[in-house]
C-alpha cells in the first residue's frame, strides 16, 4: 500500500503543478499583454483607456459567463449573439411603445431567458444535440429581431435608455477654464459594475450551490449524475436559461450604449463568448471550467483588440492573432489533460 500511496502523492503534486501552470499561464499571458502594450503605446496604460477597455470587455464577459455554464454541462450555446439582438430590440420597442425604461429592459431580459428556455426544452425534451438546437435558435432569434423591426434600427429612445450603458459611478467632473465640464475621473461605468457583480454571483453559483455542482456532475459524467438522482433535465434547462438571460441583459446594455436598438447587433458574439470560456480553461468536453478563468479569457480578447487597435494593427491581423491565441491556449490545455 505504501507504494501506491507514494504514487498518489507524486501524482498529486504533478496535478497541482499542472493546474497552476494552466491557471497562471492564462493570467501570465494577460499580464504579459498589458506590459507589452504599455510599452508600445503611451495611451494604453491610462485610466481612460482602462475604463474603455473594461467597458468593451463587458459584453464578451456577460456572454462568456453563460457560455461557461453551458459548456460545463458538455453543451454549447450558439444562439446568444442573436438572442441579445432580439432582447435589445424588444426593450427598445417597448420604450418606443411608452413603457418605462426599467420595465422595458426587464422585458428584454425575460425574452432572452425565454429563448434559453426554448433551447433547453429542445435539447432535453426533443433530445437534439445542443449544437443543432442553438444553431436553429441563432437563426430564428435573428430573424424575429429583423422581422419585427423591419431590419431598421429603433432610434430616438431618449436619454434614460442610454443611462445603463453610458452612465458611470463616481464620475468626477470639473469645470474647465473654458467653462465646459472636464472629466477628471471617468468613473466606473455601470456595465462594468454589473459585470463584477455577475462574475461574483455566478462564481458563487458554480462553486457553492447544488445547482452549480450538478452542472459539473452532468458534464463530468451525465449517466453517473442521472443514476445519483440529479435532475439532469431541469439542471440543463437551467444552464440554457441562464445563458439566455445573460444574453438578454447583454443586449439591453449594448443597445443602451448605442441609445439605439440595432437588430443587426451581436453577430458572431457567441464565438467570442465561447473563445473567452475556452481560453479561460473551460473544457468543451464538459465538467471543467471557472468564472475566474472566463474573466481572464474575456480580458485577453478585449486587451488584444484594444492594444492592437492602439498600435494601428489592422482588424484582419487582430482576427489572425486572436485565432492563434485560441488554438495555442486550447493546445496547452490538452497537453495538460493528456499527460
Amino acid at each position: 500500500m505504501t507504494v501506491t500511496d507514494t504514487v498518489f502523492q507524486e501524482r498529486k503534486i504533478k496535478i497541482n503543478r499542472n493546474d497552476l501552470i494552466q491557471k497562471f499561464a492564462a493570467l501570465a499571458g494577460l499580464i504579459l499583454l498589458v506590459i507589452v502594450f504599455s510599452f508600445t503605446s503611451d495611451a494604453f496604460l491610462t485610466t481612460n483607456n482602462g475604463v474603455t477597455l473594461a467597458l468593451q470587455t463587458t459584453s464578451i464577459a456577460f456572454l462568456g459567463f453563460g457560455a461557461t455554464c453551458v459548456i460545463i454541462t458538455g453543451g454549447i450555446d450558439l444562439s446568444v449573439g442573436s438572442v441579445l439582438a432580439l432582447a435589445g430590440v424588444i426593450a427598445g420597442m417597448a420604450v418606443k411603445g411608452g413603457m418605462p425604461v426599467a420595465i422595458a429592459m426587464a422585458l428584454g431580459v425575460v425574452a432572452g431567458g425565454l429563448c434559453g428556455l426554448i433551447n433547453g426544452l429542445i435539447i432535453t425534451r426533443l433530445k437534439l444535440p445542443p449544437f443543432i438546437a442553438t444553431l436553429g435558435m441563432m437563426m430564428v432569434a435573428r430573424g424575429v429581431a429583423l422581422q419585427i423591426t423591419g431590419a431598421r434600427p429603433v432610434s430616438g429612445l431618449g436619454d434614460d435608455f442610454g443611462e445603463l450603458g453610458n452612465g458611470a459611478l463616481m464620475r468626477i467632473l470639473d469645470v474647465g477654464a473654458n467653462g465646459l465640464p472636464k472629466v477628471v475621473f471617468p468613473g466606473i461605468p455601470y456595465p462594468v459594475i454589473v459585470m463584477i457583480v455577475l462574475a461574483i454571483a455566478i462564481a458563487v453559483l458554480l462553486m457553492k450551490t447544488t445547482f452549480g455542482r450538478h452542472l459539473y456532475a452532468i458534464g463530468s459524467n451525465e449517466e453517473a449524475a442521472r443514476l445519483s438522482g440529479v435532475n439532469v433535465t431541469r439542471t440543463k434547462i437551467g444552464a440554457y436559461v441562464l445563458s439566455g438571460v445573460l444574453a438578454g441583459l447583454c443586449g439591453c446594455i449594448l443597445m443602451s450604449r448605442l441609445v439605439t436598438a440595432q437588430p443587426n447587433e451581436g453577430v458572431a458574439y457567441e464565438l467570442d463568448a465561447i473563445a473567452s470560456a475556452v481560453i479561460g480553461g473551460t473544457s468543451l468536453m464538459g465538467g471543467v471550467g471557472t468564472i475566474s478563468g472566463t474573466v481572464i479569457g474575456a480580458f485577453i480578447i478585449g486587451i488584444l483588440r484594444n492594444g492592437l487597435n492602439m498600435n494601428g494593427v489592422s482588424s484582419f491581423i487582430q482576427m489572425i492573432t486572436i485565432g492563434l491565441v485560441i488554438i495555442v491556449t486550447v493546445w496547452i490545455d490538452q497537453m495538460r489533460n493528456r499527460r
Binding site: 501506491t4 496535478i15 453517473a224 442521472r226 443514476l227 438522482g229
Partner: protein, 530 residues
C-alpha cells in the same frame, strides 16, 4: 509478408513436449496443426490475464474455447488475432513463429476474428464493408462494380440472400454476421475465430450458421469457437479447451466428455478462502419484493424477494439480464410490467430520482461509465446523491458540513486518498469503488444493488468490500450482489437468483448448492419448475 510477420529462423516445429507441458494435458504436436500457441502469458496493470496458456488448432477443425467470464478466452484470442501483444510464449502459425503487430498483419496472414459485437460500419454498403481499407481501385477511384461483384461471389457462396449493394444498417444482426463471415472468406481466412456468434441469433439462423461452419470445415478452415451455450457445442465442435482464471485447464475430444465435465473443468473444485466470515443472519422479514418484472425483449417475469440481513446473489452469464433487471428496478430503464415494494409499501419508480427517494441504490457495473464522476473530487462524488443533506433550502452548499460528511465516509470505508479534494480518477479501482459505496451510504439507502463491485480491483480491496457487504447486511440493509464470479456467490450470499436469457431459472439456497448446479441453471440446462 507484412512487417513483423513470420520469422522462419524462430520456427520450432519439433520442440520437446516436456518443455512446454506445464499444463495438465500434453500439448498436441500433430502436423495437421495450423496454429499452435504455447506458454502464452499476458500481463495487464495489476493482473496476470494469461498465465502460460496453451492452445492448438487443426485444419478443418472446430475447436471450442470454454471458460467463465474473465477466464482469459478473449485475451488469448486477441493475442492470436494480433490485437494484443503477448508478454511470453510463442504463436506458431503454419509452422512458423509469428509476431503479428496488428489485426491487419494477422488478417493478411489468414487469421480473422469475428467479434461478439460486430465491427461493421452501418452507413456503408455490404460490399464497402467487406472491402473496407482494401478497396479495389481503377486509377485513383474505387472500382465499385468490381467491388460489388466480388463481394456478391462470397455472399452467394454462403447461400445468403444479401445484395452487396445493401446498406449494412438495414440488415438484421444475423445477416450482419453473415457479412462478417463473407468478409472472412474474402480475406482467404484459414483460421476463423468466432466470439459468441450465436448470442443474438434465432434458432433457424443458428442452423444456417452451423451449416456454413460445416462447409468451411470441409474447405479446411480451422475455426475457434467461443460460446457460453454449452448445449450447442455437440452439433459442430470437435475438441474443447477449457480455461480458468487465466490458466489452461484441459483439452479434450468432445466425443469423450459430457457437458458436466466441461462445467466442472470451468468452475474448478476448490473454493479458496478469500472471503470473510459472514456475521449477518438472514431473518424471515421480507423487506424488498419484486414481482413479475418485465422489460419487453430484455427480460420476462422476474420475481424475487430480499429479507432483512440477507445478501442475495444474482448469478448468470453475461447478457442474461441481471444488470438490466437491477437498472429497471432502479428506474434507470423503463419496465413494461411488474411491481416493486419496499417494507410492504408498493413503490412507483419512474426515474432514478424516485428510486433514490425510496431508499434504493444501484452501484453500476461500469464505475467509470456510469458510477463515478471521474473528473470530480472524492468529496463531490460522495455527496452527489444527497446534496440536500449538505446544503440549505436555497441550494447553498455548507462547506463545513460537506467536508465532515466526506471525511467521515473516507474514514469509515478506509478510502486510500491523500485528501477528500483528490480528483476521483487518480484513485485505484478499489478506492474508487469505496467512494461510490460511500455515496450511497451517505444517502441512507435501504436496499443496495452491487453490480460486479469487485471487477478490476485487487485482492485486498476485494476483501474489504466483502467485509463491507457483510456489515451492511448486518445493519439491516438489503444487499443484492450481482456477480459473474461464482466463488463470490458461494462465499458471500445467502440465496442466489440464477438468470438465463432474461428469465429466472432458479432461486437456490447458497449453502445447499454448488458451482456446478448454478452453472447448469445459468446455461439453461436446468430450470426450476414454474
Amino acid at each position: 509478408m507484412p512487417a513483423g510477420g513470420v520469422d522462419r529462423a524462430d520456427a520450432v516445429p519439433g520442440a520437446p513436449a516436456a518443455a512446454i507441458a506445464a499444463g495438465r494435458t500434453t500439448v498436441p504436436q500433430d502436423d495437421d496443426n495450423i496454429l499452435i500457441a504455447r506458454g502464452i502469458s499476458k500481463r495487464f496493470p495489476g493482473v496476470l490475464a494469461l498465465d502460460t496458456v496453451h492452445f492448438d488448432l487443426r485444419r478443418g477443425e472446430v475447436h471450442a474455447l470454454c471458460g467463465e467470464n474473465g477466464a482469459g478466452k478473449s485475451t488469448l484470442m486477441k493475442i492470436i488475432s494480433g490485437l494484443y501483444q503477448r508478454d511470453e510464449g510463442d504463436v506458431t502459425y503454419k509452422g512458423q513463429v509469428c509476431h503479428f503487430q496488428s489485426i491487419q498483419d494477422a488478417q493478411a496472414a489468414g487469421i480473422t476474428i469475428i467479434h461478439q459485437e460486430l465491427n461493421l460500419v452501418p452507413h456503408l454498403s455490404v460490399a464497402e464493408n467487406i472491402y473496407l481499407a482494401r478497396e479495389p481501385k481503377r486509377g485513383p477511384f474505387i472500382d465499385k462494380k468490381k467491388m460489388e461483384a466480388d463481394a456478391q461471389v462470397y455472399l452467394d457462396r454462403l447461400k445468403v440472400n444479401i445484395r452487396a449493394s445493401q446498406l449494412v444498417g438495414s440488415l438484421s444482426v444475423a445477416r450482419q454476421q453473415m457479412v462478417e463471415i463473407a468478409k472472412a472468406l474474402s480475406l482467404k481466412a484459414e483460421v476463423l475465430i468466432m466470439d459468441e456468434p450465436t448470442s443474438s441469433l434465432t434458432e433457424s439462423e443458428i442452423d444456417r450458421l452451423f451449416e456454413i461452419i460445416q462447409e468451411l470445415k470441409g474447405q479446411g478452415v480451422g475455426i475457434i469457437y467461443i460460446s457460453h451455450r454449452l448445449d450447442e457445442l455437440r452439433r459442430i465442435v470437435d475438441r474443447v479447451t477449457v480455461m480458468r482464471d487465466g490458466r489452461y485447464v484441459s483439452t479434450r475430444n468432445l466425443a469423450d466428455i459430457t457437458v458436466d465435465d466441461i462445467v466442472a473443468a470451468m468452475v474448478g473444485r476448490s473454493l479458496e478462502d478469500k472471503f470473510p466470515e459472514r456475521t449477518s443472519q438472514p431473518t424471515d422479514e421480507e423487506i424488498f419484493v419484486v414481482d413479475g418484472l418485465s422489460r419487453a425483449g430484455v427480460f420476462e417475469n422476474v420475481s424475487f424477494t430480499l429479507r432483512r440481513g440477507e445478501i442475495l446473489g444474482f448469478a448468470g452469464l453475461m447478457g442474461a439480464g441481471r444488470t438490466e433487471v437491477a437498472r429497471a428496478v432502479f428506474g434507470a430503464d423503463a419496465k413494461t410490467a411488474g411491481t416493486v415494494s419496499l417494507g410492504g409499501r408498493a413503490l412507483t419508480i419512474r426515474s432514478p430520482i424516485d428510486a433514490i427517494d425510496a431508499g434504493i441504490a444501484y452501484l453500476s457495473e461500469d464505475r467509470k461509465l456510469n458510477g463515478l464522476a471521474v473528473g470530480m473530487t472524492v468529496k463531490a462524488n460522495i455527496t452527489m446523491a444527497n446534496m440536500a443533506a449538505v446544503s440549505n433550502r436555497l441550494g447553498f452548499i455548507d462547506d463545513a458540513r460537506e467536508r465532515q460528511a466526506a471525511e467521515k465516509s473516507v474514514r469509515m470505508l478506509n478510502v486510500k486518498t491523500p485528501s477528500i479534494n483528490q480528483i476521483a480518477k487518480f484513485l485505484s479501482g478499489g478506492n474508487q469503488q469505496k467512494v461510490v459505496i460511500g455515496k450511497w451510504l451517505f444517502r441512507d439507502s435501504r436496499v443496495l444493488f452491487f453490480d460486479e463491485p469487485t471487477r478490476g480491483i485487487d485482492v485486498g480491496a476485494k476483501f474489504a468490500i466483502y467485509q463491507l457487504l457483510d456489515r451492511l447486511a448486518r445493519d439491516g440493509i438489503g444487499v443484492v450482489l450481482i456477480t459473474s464470479e461464482l466463488p463470490e456467490i458461494l462465499g458471500m450470499t445467502d440465496r442466489v437468483v440464477v438468470f438465463h436469457e432474461g428469465e429466472v431459472t432458479g432461486i437456490l439456497d447458497t449453502r445447499k448448492t454448488t458451482q456446478e448446479e448454478i452453472m447448469q441453471y445459468a446455461s439453461g440446462v436446468k430450470r426450476m419448475p414454474c
